[in-house]
């Protein structure tokens, strides 16, 4: 009976959902083609050592998703809804970043201002757009998906407008680091950026009451207000934090290309970010949240995408395949199925115990 309880307990942990999905994908790849796990050390055009392989791709591209998933988890928890304007907001933030770096001359050889200043400005802009979404949701009581639909529709046009519809190109190679590699370190930089964001998030959750307040507001807004909280302000705050995450993702995205394509950059990324939150076992209706589970969820989504690319699924068909896998993952992680599986463990252990007792 005791082992049964332990099985059940382990299975009931929220982090088990993305972990199980992760293991499933890992085993599938191991059986289908172990070369998936091959990692090679090579040199890039600048002569620096870089690792390459599918796992490195996952680490690289999963990191931007993980950063977004952190913000999306907070928004989901506080408002019980999701922000679908993330991709458009990345376009805006990225466009602002390039505008600051290049100035008026879109082909300038030198940086117009230090990267850190440009990044901070783009962060403030992304934060303001987040606040716009947040105010619509919190003070005007508009459903989050509807409220963020506005920016979802208009965002990419705003992004193009910031640069007068031109495509600035950054020529200074120091900007390439953020989406690439630091000379001498063969692991992609986005991973380190994601780790920094995770550490900051962890510190915020540890040294402030953000976690308690946000969950409280997400679970019972009326009661939170009677306990002295300001639910509206807290909701806006989560949208602003998501905006900050967006600006970090925009930095990585634009650094990869050294330019921007307003209509394509970060397209559909909001869906992956929302999926990461769901796959992490967080209720999309808000309330309690688990950020590590969302982060793991983000990497699992990227794992899935990369696996599908590996098997030469064309990018048109990709979403269909993804959908099938997602359905499976979500069904298996649902409360009822997990309870059922937990029950199976209990039964098998009980049967075993019964046999032992007989013998």
């Amino acid at each position: 009976m005791k082992t049964g309880n332990i099985f059940q307990k382990i299975f009931r942990r929220q982090i088990m959902i993305p972990l199980a999905a992760f293991l499933l994908l890992a085993i599938f790849n191991l059986v289908a083609d172990p070369s998936f796990y091959k990692i090679t050390l090579g040199y890039n055009s600048a002569g620096n050592p870089v690792l390459s392989g599918y796992l490195i791709t996952i680490l690289d591209y999963g990191s931007e998703l993980a950063i977004l998933a952190i913000g999306m988890t907070l928004v989901t928890a506080a408002s019980g809804g999701q922000d679908i304007s993330v991709g458009a907001a990345i376009a805006i933030s990225g466009s602002m970043l390039l505008r600051c770096l290049c100035g008026a001359d879109t082909r300038s050889e030198n940086l117009n201002m230090p990267i850190i200043c440009a990044f901070l400005i783009s962060m403030v802009v992304a934060g303001l757009f987040g606040a716009f979404n947040g105010v619509l949701v919190a003070y005007f009581k508009i459903q989050p998906m509807v409220a963020t639909l506005i920016l979802f529709t208009a965002g990419r046009s705003i992004a193009a407008w910031i640069n007068n519809n031109e495509l600035p190109i950054v020529n200074d190679q120091s900007f390439a680091i953020y989406g690439g590699f630091i000379p001498g370190i063969p692991i992609p930089m986005p991973f380190f950026i994601a780790v920094i964001v995770m550490i900051i998030t962890w510190l915020i959750l540890k040294f402030t009451n953000l976690g308690l307040y946000v969950q409280s507001v997400g679970i019972n807004e009326k009661s939170s207000r009677l306990n002295g909280l300001n639910p509206e302000l807290l909701k806006v705050l989560t949208f602003v934090l998501l905006g900050v995450c967006v600006s970090v993702a925009a930095l990585i995205k634009t650094s990869r290309l050294m330019t921007i394509n307003y209509s394509v950059i970060a397209k559909d990324i909001e869906m992956d970010a929302i999926l990461a939150v769901a796959l992490g076992g967080n209720a999309l209706s808000g309330g309690k949240f688990n950020i590590p589970a969302s982060i793991l969820g983000a990497y699992v989504i990227q794992f899935l995408t990369t696996t599908l690319y590996k098997f030469n699924v064309s990018s048109d068909a990709l979403s269909a395949y993804k959908a099938v896998v997602v359905i499976l993952l979500v069904v298996f992680s649902s409360e009822s199925v997990r309870g059922w599986i937990g029950g199976l463990f209990k039964k098998s252990v009980a049967v075993k115990a019964g046999k032992e007792a007989k013998s």
Binding site: N5, K206, F207, T208, N209, L210, L212, Y213, Q215, S216, I219, N220, K222, S223, S224, R225, L226, N227, G228, L229, N230, G287, K288
Partner: protein
């Protein structure tokens, strides 16, 4: 199975992780009887009912129903409804954004298409026959809680149930409404319906019930004919011990005797809020227990909500310890060391999914501010202290508060506010829906806090409870303060006559 009985539950067991909620409980319901199910919080009443209605699967035992040869297997609330078991819960479980008629018929469609005209007409007939003051097309949320409760009963009645379970149906009804409900219950009894009645109001049990089954700690204490079980015996059977002499608790606590005994702690002048309370004056002294009384809807809750800034305040001058203060939202009141335990525990009180620990520290954590979270150890310490002090029954500090029984949830909220060490504590219906033992505990606690110098405003629908605790009563009618009673005037009769005749100020 006995000829007269329509339901026999035998040897029911139910185990939750760490708790044995029911062990070997028997329960028999006869045709056309009103059967009270009594017991303290956590005695297993709710669990037994949830087993019967298919919310929880039973671990052992059997349930037999008249008309079924074999024991019935109730797997879901839907199963229960199909074999004629209807339940009306303590908290409203209907959809407040649908119309009254929709709520009566929801989930019972026999065909895909709906004839709304017929449906509204039918609903109108039901409402009329039961004398419920609501229109079929009215949105349910716009009705008073009492009317919503009655709509829930109307729904059950219309399903032609054989067994009707009423789980604390009267806790939000006023006297007239209770009388109407009882009339309805007797009517159903005549038709042969077996009614299981769960309540904490002893008066009501003796007014309307035929039999009583008492549970304690998940075990059956016994089944009694109402005439064989006098009130005091019932209470002592529920508690498992002799009841304290309740009437003496006020004189036991000596009252507050500090130097600043008669100092005014808090006063409000011309206070009013958007919830249409007419401007009123109010004050409370250190160590005083006062209360707002009046019929349901007279504005007693709205008055204290205005004090706490829970509703938008329209006018008023407030003073605390002689200094002018401003309260526009709850946090302002909290900063002035005022605490408020709201009337609606589920909606305004608990944060259901959060743990007992988080619920206890919440208010203090908000006061401490965004950048000063308690360490886990500190939070555990606070939680443990108050779990022990208030004897909160919970498996651990990590248990989600929503899984606790009503009385224990109430204690958690009380713990939350006591932890902020308020000077002035407002308790709106703190004893609603909780058992006799806990009620007495809370009343004693109120008097003890007052004797230590805290000002307490206590609101309860049970007048005798207020008479036992309060030294001054403010009487309200139709959202006006109509009188104030102290000393000799503190008695049931005087309150009634003040409500009836008191002059509007």
């Amino acid at each position: 199975m006995n000829e007269n009985s329509i339901l026999e539950m035998r040897n029911i067991d139910k185990v939750f992780p760490g708790v044995r909620a029911l062990s070997g409980v028997d329960f028999t319901l006869r045709k056309g009887e009103i059967h009270a199910l009594m017991g303290e919080n956590g005695a297993g009443k709710s669990t037994l009912i949830k087993v019967l209605t298919g919310v929880y699967p039973k671990d052992n035992g059997e349930i037999r129903m008249a008309g079924h040869d074999k024991p019935v297997n109730i797997k879901s609330p839907e199963d229960a409804q199909n074999i004629g078991i209807s339940t009306v819960y303590q908290e409203i479980t209907l959809c407040s954004n649908l119309s009254v008629a929709e709520n009566i018929f929801i989930g019972r469609e026999k065909s895909f298409f709906t004839n709304w005209k017929m449906r509204n007409k039918r609903a109108g007939e039901i409402l009329k026959s039961l004398d419920i003051p609501a229109s079929p097309t009215q949105q349910l949320g716009t009705c008073s809680i009492a009317v919503q409760q009655m709509v829930a009963i109307a729904r059950a009645v219309d399903m032609e149930c054989k067994i009707l379970i009423l789980d604390e149906p009267t806790s939000s009804l006023d006297e007239q409404e209770v009388a109407k409900l009882f009339k309805l219950m007797r009517e159903l009894k005549q038709r042969g319906v077996g009614i299981i009645f769960v309540t904490h109001f002893l008066d009501q049990v003796y007014e309307v019930c035929d039999r009583i089954t008492v549970l304690r700690d998940g075990k059956l204490v016994g089944e009694y004919e109402i005439k064989d079980l006098p009130r005091l015996m019932l209470v002592s059977k529920m508690l498992g011990k002799e009841l304290d002499d309740m009437s003496s608790i006020k004189s036991d606590s000596g009252g507050y005797n500090g130097e600043d005994k008669d100092k005014i702690l808090f006063e409000a002048e011309n206070l009013s809020s958007v919830e249409a309370v007419n401007p009123f004056d109010f004050h409370i002294k250190k160590g005083e227990v006062n209360g707002f009384t009046g019929l349901l809807g007279s504005g007693r809750s709205e008055s204290v909500r205005a004090i706490f800034g829970a509703d938008r305040v329209l006018s008023g001058k407030l003073k605390k310890d002689g200094r002018d203060i401003k309260i526009t939202k709850p946090i302002d009141a909290m900063k002035n060391k005022i605490a408020y335990l709201p009337e609606d525990r589920k909606e305004d009180g608990i944060i259901g999914d959060l743990s007992v620990r988080e619920n206890i520290i919440l208010a203090l954590q908000v006061l401490e501010g965004f950048f000063h979270p308690f360490s886990r150890a500190k939070a555990e310490e606070f939680a443990d202290e108050y779990i022990k002090l208030l004897e909160i029954k919970t498996a651990s500090t990590d248990t989600p508060v929503k899984s606790l029984s009503g009385g224990n949830q109430q204690k958690v909220i009380l713990a939350r506010w006591l932890l902020t060490h308020p000077d002035y504590l407002i308790l709106d219906e703190p004893t609603r829906g909780i058992d006799v033992g806990t009620k007495v505990e809370i009343q004693k606690l109120v008097l003890k806090l007052a004797s230590e110098g805290m000002g307490v405003t206590f609101i309860s629908s049970e007048t005798d409870e207020m008479l036992r605790t309060c030294s001054r009563l403010i009487v309200m009618r139709d959202r006006h303060v109509v009188g104030e009673l102290t000393g000799e005037d503190l008695n049931q009769h005087k309150i009634m006559s003040t409500i009836a005749e008191g002059e509007s100020e």
